[in-house]
Symmetry: none
Subunit: 159 residues, 4 copies
Amino acid sequence: MHQVYELTLEEAKLMIEAARKKAEEINVLETIAVVDSGGYVIAMERMNKSRVTGPEIAMAKGFTAAGHKRSTHLFNREPNGPVLPGNEAFGIQHMIPGKFATFVGGFPVVVNGEVIGGVGVSGGNGEQDTAVGTAALAALAEHLKNDGHEVITDADIKR
Amino acid sequence: MHQVYELTLEEAKLMIEAARKKAEEINVLETIAVVDSGGYVIAMERMNKSRVTGPEIAMAKGFTAAGHKRSTHLFNREPNGPVLPGNEAFGIQHMIPGKFATFVGGFPVVVNGEVIGGVGVSGGNGEQDTAVGTAALAALAEHLKNDGHEVITDADIKR
Amino acid sequence: MHQVYELTLEEAKLMIEAARKKAEEINVLETIAVVDSGGYVIAMERMNKSRVTGPEIAMAKGFTAAGHKRSTHLFNREPNGPVLPGNEAFGIQHMIPGKFATFVGGFPVVVNGEVIGGVGVSGGNGEQDTAVGTAALAALAEHLKNDGHEVITDADIKR
Amino acid sequence: MHQVYELTLEEAKLMIEAARKKAEEINVLETIAVVDSGGYVIAMERMNKSRVTGPEIAMAKGFTAAGHKRSTHLFNREPNGPVLPGNEAFGIQHMIPGKFATFVGGFPVVVNGEVIGGVGVSGGNGEQDTAVGTAALAALAEHLKNDGHEVITDADIKR
């Protein structure tokens, strides 16, 4: 057997709290989902007046980031994004329908080098969703650093 | 146009907080979702160590309670539950696949006589899910009573 | 709680009536759906002899316009349409399968600055669907102006 | 963060090897899937000449056993099976369509009291699927006992 870390509800809420504060600061209405390594929601919040499409899309972004171990904007970013027409994974965006999100807003939660979850953010443009998602990662990093754990806080994460 | 009330994120979180405390008190691991009148999640939490099937099922219960305006256990309770074999709505449980939950754990949020959302609880047995779900309703009722709003806090709700 | 406006059936029918008249005037066979803020149909009509694919597509357009708060042609219009290959939301069109429409024919219903529903039109080309959909918005604007409500009647709506 | 155990591929193969031997011994053609705590396949084998429906069903059984933390025959066994008409979870079988299996053949993998995966078996009757599935659990128990880990090997598992 392997031993692996798992996010707690308390940590997920701390991440969402930081994300929501960042969203309020930059004035964007977001849904934020924190998921486990299997892509299952631990906690999710949709800000007042934000889109009803938010939860479904935020969950998909979190699932994809955690499950495919990649920031979701790395799938479709020019020129090498693998899901772009002409590139070799063009078509993978149709797999696992409704759950495989290959555009900006999903970020893996990587602790001590291992993906243990994901954050999905839906509601803003790419820059906004990225600011909000990485705020969640930064809050977790801050929270865990005293115990000697390292969390990746960059936007571009690929395992 | 009609004017209708809408739950805020703050109210949804207050409901989840009360529900989670009740779950801790009666020692059961639950996922709790609070949804709006369209069945879309406002906030959701999955307790540590609880089932990964929780979010999907809790969301379905909340959706059905809000959207069909009925506590979900009223669908399948003996002897008149309409989805029981021999009763006239037997089969409705296959509609809107994956989202129409016709068993215990979903409760409409009724404010001043109107359904404005739902609570879905998944993880315990019927008695436990009901205790947790109605704790959420009671917390909302307490919170809104000073403003003169009435919230139904019974388990059996049908509009 | 927040208080929000909700379209009535009478208003939805008035919108459809205006849309259908416009369709007859420009000689195109359309299905027209008016949906609420959660994307659920309030009223829908399919003109004689029009396509059987109309209802499913018109509902998707209305859902997306209402739920994502954007005219659906703004998703795919050159050169900045966010779902075009190379742009940042390329891939969002695969979310919420069968319901997320990212091409011309869906328009949010915005009253006093808030999205309270959507209109989805399917059957014609882009110019025709737009003429029909905005006719529905204009009819609502006319109907509500005496009560001091403002309705956006432009084709390009983004919240 | 919590720390949890995770099955390795080597352990999953060892479980399948034992299960397949049992199937050969009792002369039944089976598909056997071993999944992780999120219900995702670690390893799967379909015996020569066995049914093509096997993989989909075995995966669903493994998913449900792991994700809902219960041997799948406990859902529908007379008289207390919760999904039987008249019992309180009648209807849960329609959740997570195609993945939630509420009949014999799925068994949680419980190590030191925690569910860390599941085994799904499809191809035989209930007695056969149970013999094959519990053979997998017994093999894992044997393998891990020298390291001081306890694995539940009964057929009836409920957390």
